[in-house]
Amino acid sequence: MWTFGKKIALGFAVAFLLLLVISLVAYRSIEALSRTSYAVTHTHQELEATAQLFGSLKDAETGQRGYALTGDESYLEPFNTATAAMDGEFKNLRDLASDEPQQQKRIDTLQALATAKLTELRKTIEMRRKLGADATIKYIQGGAGKHLMDEARQVIGEMGQVERDQLRKRAEDVETASSDARTTIIAGTVACLVFIILAGAVLTRTLSSQIGAAVRHVRQSSTELHAAANQQAAGARESATSMTQITSTINELLATSRQIADSAQRVATIAEQTVSAAGSGESIVSLANQSISGIRGQVDMMVNHMLELGKKSQQIGAVLDIVSELAEQTNILAINATIEATGAGETGKRFGVVADEIRKLADRVAASTKEIRTLINDVRSAVNTSVMATETGSKAVDAGSRQFADVAVAFKRIAGLVNTTTEAAREIELSTKQQTSAVEQVNIAIANTAQATRETEASSGQTLQTASQLSSLSQDLLRIIQPETAA
């Protein structure tokens, strides 16, 4: 996988190589031009040194001719000056042409000719001093000195020709190097430009594609981050609400735990009181048992009286049956008496009145008998109910008596159980206090958690804002790199 850095580095490396090649070519061309320039300068120095040597030689001849013509010693000054400088000038020329063996040979020839010329000039000067002007001019006209000067002029001409040939050759080298450098620089620049354009296009396309994909991915991620932040914020809000409810519940639990602790303490106190009450209750139960035995005797006596009353009621009922029968028979007798009195006519009328009253009396007796029977039946029913209730009560008393014994045992058990309860209540009190402490710690932890939840909610808001900014930024970036897709 080619990363952006590798691609850009590769592009810059290739461009740098091209520039390096161009620079190397230019450097070599400049070096060549510099060397050629130094060589040209050297050649010019050689030409100048040659011209200066030939000028000194001509100055020496000029001084010799002027002295020969005039005999004035002052005309010998150029001769003396040139003679004094000639050795140095030869040395300079030899140094300049040290890398040229042919030129060294020509310098040797030229120096021999110059030495011969100077010797001929000194000879003529001495001749002028000793023989006069005519003999000297005659000797000069012999042409020996001129011949030496012509040879020297020829050698100097050859040396000058060699140096001019070198100058021409170096001018051609300079032109060749310059042409190569121009060609290389122009071609390299064009190639570098083409490469940079191509590399830029490829990089732009690749980077646009990859960065666009990355930006779209960032955009999608920012959208998901937005949704996640929203969910996180909602979750944080729900958590905050839940934390508030949990805090309320914990506070209620705390209050309840404290109440339980207080209640357990009260239970322990009450249990202690219950132990003493159970002890006194046991003795009270014993006394109550004795009282129940007395009640049992009274109830038995009451049952006997009730049964006796029932028997008496039955006897009264039998008497009432007799009375009722008598009333009925009296009624029939009265009816029959009435019938008989009616049959007796006027004489029986008074008897009929008596019979009628007897019948009425019998009717009333019968009615009263019915009422009494009803009352007797009510009494018997009440007696039976009372007997049954009393017997039930007697049985209940028996059961109560037995149960009182059980109650006494139960009181002992209660005392033992209450002791256990007291210990349990104390343990509950201790445990509840520990629970209260733990709940307080939980409450503190929940408060911290609630604070963290609120911070999470705030952070979610910040994340939401950041996601929005990231989405906007990715949109802007996409608009910059791919305007057609961003639109």
């Binding site: 029939i332 009816i335 049959g343 009328k349 009717d363």
Partner: protein, 180 residues
């Protein structure tokens, strides 16, 4: 002495005073014509017998049964030293038995008795308190030709002469050989 005895004593005193006063007052029958009835329980209803049609009323001591073609004849019984045939009153009226007969009404027209289960009360009303029944033509109802209006209700009046006539007709219709 229980408190309840005081009302009983006052009731007894009231009874005694009423009994004594009845002999001091003039008889009501001297001033207003009255008619006496005996109310009885028969079947599921209440009926009245005209007292003038009864010779006397007696409790049933015992009834001696014997073979007879008359289903309404219960047997014979001794009443005041005489033997009388005893007939079931409800059977002549076409009623279901409302219980075992305990009383006998001995008629004055003929020496026979009609048995019925229970006496309800003695009824004395002004003369003319009865009225004719609406449907006297039916067989059972021809013995109930009148209605007595008493205490806000209409009570059928059993005609003992009518029943006696029916009994005599039934007896005469029996074959003579078997009667002999």
């Amino acid at each position: 002495m229980s408190p309840e005895s005081t009302p009983v004593r006052s009731l007894a005193a009231q009874l005694r005073r009423s009994f004594d006063d009845s002999f001091a007052r003039p008889s009501l029958s001297d001033r207003i014509a009255q008619e006496d009835f005996l109310a009885i329980e028969l079947g599921d209803g209440r009926y009245v017998l005209r007292l003038a049609e009864i010779a006397h009323v007696a409790p049933i001591q015992s009834i001696t049964r014997f073979p007879t073609p008359l289903a309404q004849l219960l047997g014979i019984a001794g009443v005041r030293g005489a033997l009388v045939p005893v007939y079931d009153m409800g059977a002549w009226l076409g009623l279901e038995a409302g219980g075992a007969p305990r009383w006998l009404a001995v008629t004055g027209a003929a020496p026979l008795a009609l048995a019925f289960p229970a006496i309800h009360s003695y009824v004395r009303v002004p003369q003319g308190a009865t009225a004719r029944a609406d449907e006297p033509q039916q067989a059972a109802s021809r013995h109930l030709a009148e209605i007595l209006h008493h205490d806000g209700r209409a009570v059928p009046v059993i005609s003992l002469p009518s029943i006696v006539a029916a009994i005599e007709s039934a007896v005469q219709a029996l074959p003579q050989a078997r009667v002999a």
